[in-house]
């Protein structure tokens, strides 16, 4: 058991060790400084030429957002087309059908917003073409979108006054060519050599050793799984995601895939410091994120390794931990590690079924998504964190007797208004959605009986988790929830859209407004934001604001379930 603990410590440690140089590299690439990857410049220039883009044209924050939204709409149309006609398009060896319009809509939206909530099962719901040019394409470009928006904010925070904040396409293309593609290639190759399929052959029928007839689904999985993990996308090739023995065959792939979840989000947090040439700022952000993350992670590992207390009296030897919904080859510790890392980062891929986690572990997973800023999704996690920084800067600025300022820019009513709206969104979406669903369920429990796979408090947790996952653009689920109904498709779809774009628009707008303000050089009276003290303040703000809003809901779900064991 202690080797399992060492194993997850090694995964986490390796991620941090890789994230630091990657952070430096990201800063270099986005600043446009010389780096070893400059041999890719001709490829990028080719892309700009083909697309008629002038990479030297700088954009205002409004133009950035306009560009971002325009291209997103195009991708949506493209994805809809692929999913609706996949049955008649090539690369469909298993003869899977086209999607219905509403399911195509749901899937397109879900992948467009980098959420990857799946209301289909990969083996039967998609063709290989859809997996590649629909799903995998969106997994690349939506991750790059988040990163590009994040770099716009980086740029806006530099110590000067400016209206022009670089070219969106440049940030976007570089995110793909310099970061996502190379890393995906490395991970994809590792997966292939560990046994993950990369084939265009269809599923294989066979007779098992003891004589049963079965078939094994396959496909061009390795390439897609790599970007799924790296881009905090999470939508798996197979139905059960990385719990599937072909999607995640060994502990080595598990380490690599797990590491890939947090790698870029961690590196981006550090890159903030390197980009602004204030490395301490990056370490502060990283420190707050890590402390908060560990607050969720440590108890979860402990709980999952100590088994399900509800089974305590049944005569089961639980020295291996709680294994319902978990894979033997991965073990309870590595599954607990993944469960929290995937939820704090809005990745949403799973290597164990979250519905079967012990109650408080489930709560920690939800808290990771409710706060949605501990590392967070690629790019967007830092944007969420940025909103908390604004609130923290505001309150602590007042506390030291100065008009609050962030890196030399004054925070005023307009910025506060935007930050408040974005901060409000999360509780509104999660609590509002769950309240409506709970109300519907209570008003007609027989009609909606198929919704909840589990009764009581856990059933409530399933609904709460679903909206939390949607609002965090996470995509993981308490999968017992019968969510392929019009109600869940429509309501989560709306939540997805609002929760993707407002938290991008808001922080970019704030940063854009700040960038246009006069830069005030630091003095002894300025509150430095790259200190441990300010980090403590941000920590305080996130936990008080983000977590407390959900306390009553969590009390009725996981907490009630937990305390009821053996009561």
């Amino acid at each position: 058991m202690s080797t399992e603990l060492l194993g997850i410590a090694a995964i986490f440690g390796a991620t941090v060790l890789l994230a630091i140089p990657l952070g430096r590299y990201l800063a270099t690439v986005y600043r446009g400084d010389r780096s070893w990857s400059d041999f890719l410049a001709p490829l990028e220039n080719g892309l700009y030429r083909l697309s008629g883009i002038n990479p030297a044209r700088e954009m205002s924050w409004q133009q950035h957002l306009q560009t971002l939204l325009t291209i997103n709409v195009l991708w949506f149309v493209w994805a809809m087309f692929v999913f609706c006609f996949q049955g008649s398009l090539p690369l469909n060896p298993d003869g899977n059908p086209s999607m219905s319009a509403d399911q195509a809509f749901n899937t397109a939206i879900s992948f467009l917003v980098n959420c990857n909530l799946q209301h289909y099962s990969g083996e039967t719901g998609l063709t290989y073409l859809s997996q590649l040019v629909g799903i995998m394409f969106l997994q690349f470009v939506t991750a790059a979108t988040g990163m590009a928006a994040c770099v716009v904010v980086f740029n806006a925070l530099r110590d000067r006054s400016a209206d022009k904040l670089g070219n969106f396409y440049v940030y976007f293309v570089r995110s793909i060519t310099r970061v996502l593609l190379p890393l995906s290639l490395v991970l994809g190759l590792l997966l292939v050599f560990q046994g993950t399929p990369m084939t265009f052959a269809g599923k294989q029928a066979l007779i098992t050793l003891q004589g049963d007839t079965t078939a094994v689904s396959r496909g061009p999985a390795a390439a897609m799984i790599a970007i799924k993990q790296l881009g905090t996308n999470g939508g798996g090739f197979f139905g059960v995601n990385s719990a599937h023995p072909l999607e995640n065959p060994t502990c080595l792939t598990n380490m690599a895939e797990n590491l890939s979840i947090t790698l870029i989000p961690m590196a981006l947090a550090l890159a903030l410091g390197f980009y602004l040439r204030r490395p301490k700022l990056g370490y502060m952000v990283f420190g707050v994120m890590t402390a908060s993350y560990l607050l969720l992670q440590v108890p979860t590992v402990y709980l999952e390794m100590h088994g399900n207390p509800a089974l305590a009296t049944l005569g089961v030897d639980q020295t291996l931990g709680a294994l319902e919904g978990k894979e033997m080859r991965l073990g309870s510790a590595a599954s607990a590690l993944w469960a929290i890392q995937t939820t704090v980062t809005s990745n949403g891929s799973v290597n164990a079924m979250h519905d079967s986690l012990t109650p408080l572990s489930g709560m920690n997973a939800m808290l990771g998504m409710m706060t949605n800023a501990f590392y967070g999704g690629v790019g967007v996690g830092l944007l969420n964190f940025f909103v908390f920084i604004i609130v923290a800067v505001f309150i602590s600025g007042l506390m030291v007797g100065r008009t609050p300022e962030l890196l030399g820019k004054k925070i005023e009513a307009r910025e506060m208004k935007i930050a408040t709206i974005v901060a409000l969104l999360q509780p509104l979406m999660i609590l509002g959605g769950t309240a409506l669903a709970a109300h519907l369920y209570v008003s007609n429990p027989t009609e909606y009986a198929s919704w909840l796979a589990n009764p009581g408090y856990h059933g409530f947790s399933e609904m709460l988790y679903e909206y939390t996952s949607a609002a965090a653009n996470n995509g993981s689920g308490f999968e017992g929830l019968g969510d392929n109904t019009p109600w869940w498709n429509i309501s989560t779809g709306l939540v997805l859209l609002l929760s993707r774009y407002l938290p991008i628009i808001g922080p970019v707008a704030i940063a854009g407004l700040l960038a246009g303000k006069k830069y005030i050089p630091e003095s002894a009276g300025t509150l430095r934001v790259d200190t441990a003290t300010f980090g403590l303040m941000v920590f305080f703000v996130i936990w008080i604001i983000a977590a407390l809003a959900f306390f009553p809901a969590l009390a009725l779900g996981p907490l009630a379930e937990h305390f009821s064991i053996g009561y």
Binding site: T70, L209, A310, M328
Partner: protein
């Protein structure tokens, strides 16, 4: 704005070629020299493909080492967990039934020592592994039903215990398919 749309459209096309053409082609090319040529590593017995090394299969005949319970009955063209909540009374009762069944099948195992993976469903429903404890608990039964000395079967299990990669990544496991395959080979000799 019009320019914007045109650029976005052309960039989308270019990236489709790069990300969905060139990149998967590279991975696919590499797969051709990987174990299983990217088709998945297959396992044959007597010249017949009986399964994939990494994909678990159902063993409910008592002369085989059993696999873990599966929510999808090991149908590998799908996958899935039970999604049972930890305190769901129905679920707790089900585990109780499985514990009783396991004890009945393996009378040598004392209550309280039933390995957890043998009575809980895996996440994928296709878990190919059990723990060494889970295998050893079944040795007595399998040996009896196959008419083999228990020590031989135990030695077979010993030989199939897989230590974690780098000593620390993951738990110690036994691949049920390979164990049963070896068992069949041993019996047939």
């Amino acid at each position: 704005m019009k320019n914007n749309i045109a650029s976005a459209f052309r960039l989308t096309l270019a990236l489709l070629v790069l990300c969905c053409g060139a990149y998967p082609a590279l991975v696919w090319g590499a797969a051709q020299v990987a174990p299983g040529q990217g088709q998945g590593v297959q396992v044959s017995h007597k010249g017949r493909v009986v399964g994939f090394e990494d994909v678990g299969q159902k063993f409910d005949r008592p002369e085989y080492f059993s696999s873990r319970p599966s929510a999808v009955d090991y149908r590998a063209d799908g996958s899935g967990g039970s999604n049972k909540g930890p305190t769901n009374p129905e679920y707790v009762a089900e585990v109780g039934t499985r514990v009783a069944a396991f004890l009945r099948l393996n009378p040598s195992v004392k209550p309280g020592q039933v390995p957890v993976e043998m009575v809980t469903a895996s996440g994928s429903g296709l878990d190919p592994h059990i723990s060494p404890a889970g295998a050893y608990a079944q040795v007595e039964r399998v040996a009896r039903l196959r008419g083999l000395p228990a020590a031989r079967v135990k030695a077979l299990v010993d030989a199939h215990v897989q230590e974690p990669i780098f000593v620390l990544l993951g738990p110690v496991t036994v691949n049920v398919l390979q164990l049963n395959l070896a068992l069949d080979t041993l019996t047939e000799k």
